[in-house]
Subunit: 298 residues, 4 copies
């Protein structure tokens, strides 16, 4: 904790050590979504559009990212937008579009929940519930997620310290839900050449201090397609357990954050570059385990 | 808007000019709470404990701030805390304590709402609904507040740009509720000598660009009792319409943010210093208008 | 000091307490420049162009600020510019222009020194040697200034913590030169609505913790003429000992920072507004003491 | 450039395109120091103590980093310290110690120059002249370095935007010295868990926008030995051309920044981990080219 005047201390966790601390599970937590395992040796890539805009765009993107090797389909239906006049997402109908597109390609879904009231609806369709950066300290939402038994993707707030990020996760774990994935997506600094400043040291630190899986969102972190591949590779080298990446078939027509989306071609290129760096880290892109009789045959 | 890559634009407000823009009401909006008017020539001081801890502490503080001349009683019953193990507020029973203490001294109440689900309860007891810094972009909450016809105190987020702050207010105005008071409470910067960095230029800018009342919270901005009086006076000179200040009878025993609370004595001293600076700005501490026959007699 | 890993501690000043600490001179240091005294009850205003561009512009500005009541003429002849292709200042000939303009209106001069090698030249013409924000930790320059017996105006670095600012002053005091004036000019933050973020809490804190005079530069802090008057008044209310303000007869034609310069008319308006706030603080614009026989005659 | 009010534009470089722009040399600049080439396919590691403390410590460190495969010996003899009471470096005698230690192991030297007046002395002993973060906008120093024909290592300032960093390099190139190596060493943000925030996106961006070599200093960026290896690997994956790393035989006894120094053992471990990631990037640790007759023999 920083020693600034007036800063709230970490509080005394009931057991003396926060539940997120690595000491609680030195071997690390693995979060399972369908077959996919996040936090193990397999590196997991989540990809898809910023916002679900319609059936064609969503199915096209889903097919593209699945064929390039993505493991989870991302897509927003409730969009937190700075302005009330920006596109706010398709809402419930979008959820059905997203679920249908995911089903066709056999991928699980990660999507953002903005309010506890949306949970009953989201729970039916979504495999990983994402808490966005703006809601990292929406404690009512965190408490509600703590009561579920569904994986939560907790994005770091734009101005959240490392300690505040871990304590936000603690709210979910304290409720009994240990399926939390941390996501670094860049912090707000004075720098204007990139949308945010990607803090990869926080990723390495989170891997050392907590037992939770940690993934990186290079799309929001940089806001710049040319920087996504280098930052994705750097994330892998820094020890991240995965990525979440925005892909759009026609970025220039996207209703949300199009300027930072990769085309399917560039996304596929990134997927081809990852195994090299992962191999150097004794890791690999996640793959389903082969059935026993196949393994036996090798 | 900043020109960072990937930054969302302001969107096109339906009428072409955001509803918060001064052009919509060049004379400025005045928010009324009981007799008190915020945004007119009278300068309004809200004061009270960070958190309602019990009847004795609350009544004692209410009596102290009322007798020193405060116009609104502040007090938190739902407390957003970084750690799940910190004191989270008294909840509903605290609301009744706060209402009773306020009734005895005849002051209206401002208190923080953390989630839309708390609104039905809060509405009965609270005169101004405060949105905390962490919830500035909790759009579900902002939308819900837009449907009410009750004053909203919108604190600037720790890392919110000026533009984002105004657009958060726009969510409430867009819903039809124009009773919004902006509150600057310090932004997060690299500086660690103070809890946050009070951005008084944003106060002056908000007065120029919007028609909304703007108040300042020097307690959270500095986290340091010795800096509250100078920053309160500076806020008055910068053109703020009021202050919100934490007061506790025994700061060292407070369950929340005690280190930044003023004692009743120091608060009274501040109230004695304000009229000088306000007078130089052609303003004064808010006072009820005298009935016509009294004015006539002067 | 912040507790960040790897952060350098304050070191052990030879006497155990840094020389800037108020404990060394509880009554406060007063810096004298000609007749003018900075750090006493009189509030001192320094004004003039960002850069000396030529005789006519400089004399015109000098006459305007002198007649509006400024106490010191500012003007840059060596300009630190982000780009090597921006106007870098007139250099030595500019110094002679500035000196001549100041002589005609009877004001002392403050001007920026960028390198120790410029000191012999500057010393002859300049009354207060300004260290710019970019040079706040140019320790070779600070050491050289410590050996002089001439007032130094030390601007806070754009990203300097409060503690680093005081320790930069300590370099000058440690050399034996105690004539140091601190100047807050805004820090660099994520906010883009203003050029920098004016940190008035640091001004109040510097007055409490050190014995040095502290002035404020609202021109660089805001970069916006409409914000200069409110921030100047706020600085006075926060306890500053003076201001340094950019004035240009034709801001739109200025070779440097024209967009933030006040016209002579707006500067005169500000000078008329200051006495009210200063009076509320038991202070006044600095005035020469009347000779004894005149005082006796009153 | 950011669009903040009052922000200086990039200026119009004399030829219309800044000299640092990649368009000037699309194949990239390679800086040569003795045999070593920085900016080509070979990845270059500079290592050594923060400060030269004496012959034994320096020789011991030089031997350790050389045997682990470092290509350049770093060591400070003029140390910019926040406090005037901290160890300020050995000065000229330290330079001779450093030169002697480097000679024995056959490595070139990089060392920081704090002031133009030190250049004649430094030039005789030092192969790469380092400009520290605090001096990034010491324009007198940059101009003086522009007149030399010796490699310059330009660290990014703690609060320097990407654009300001490039324009600081432009000062050196504009003087005719094109042997400039950019060095990212972390920027100052609100985060306190690390000493600074390493901005690897700026590294990738600098490689795309300029023709200059770019290296990374993970020691100052993190201030934390456990984070140096992950950040060094991440830098390699992000496209950096090299590293500069602090190594001390007994970190806990170091006179400067000991808490962030690697032991020789940990440094050797890092050197063993680098080739894997570099190989995935089609790069390798720099090695001298074999003489033609040896190559012919393969």
């Amino acid at each position: 904790m920083s020693g600034k005047p007036g800063e709230e201390g970490a509080g005394t966790p009931r057991e003396g050590t926060p539940r997120v601390a690595r000491a609680w599970r030195p071997e690390g937590t693995r979060v399972r979504v369908g077959q996919v395992e996040i936090g193990g040796p397999g590196f997991v890539v989540m990809a898809g559009p910023c916002a679900v805009e319609g059936m064609e765009q969503t199915e096209q993107t889903a097919a593209a990212v699945a064929s390039a090797g993505a493991h989870v389909l991302r897509g927003g239906v409730f969009k937190p937008r700075t302005s009330p006049y920006s596109f706010q997402g398709m809402g419930e109908p979008g959820l059905r579009v997203l679920a249908e597109a995911a089903r066709k390609v056999g991928l699980p879904i990660v999507s953002e929940v903005m309010d506890a009231a949306q949970l009953p609806l989201m729970e039916d369709h979504v495999d990983i519930l994402q808490v966005g950066a703006r809601n990292m300290q929406n404690f009512a939402l965190l408490r509600a997620l703590g009561k579920l038994r569904k994986p939560v993707l907790l994005k770091r707030g734009m101005a959240a310290t490392f300690q505040e990020w871990l304590l936000a996760a603690e709210y979910v774990l304290d409720g009994g839900n240990e399926q939390v994935i941390l996501c670094e997506r860049g912090i707000r600094t004075f720098e204007t050449a990139t949308r945010n400043t990607l803090d990869l040291a926080a990723v390495a630190l989170a891997k050392q201090r907590t037992h939770l899986p940690v993934i990186v969102d290079p799309s929001h972190a940089t806001g710049e397609p040319d920087l996504i591949q280098p930052m994705a590779l750097a994330a892998a080298a820094a020890g991240a357990d995965g990525l979440i990446i925005e892909v759009h078939p026609r970025p220039e027509q996207a209703l949300c954050d199009g300027q930072q989306a990769l085309t399917p071609e560039r996304f596929a290129q990134l997927m081809r570059r990852l195994p090299g760096v992962l191999g150097a880290m004794d890791r690999h892109l996640w793959m389903p385990e082969l059935p026993a009789h196949v393994v036996g045959a090798r």
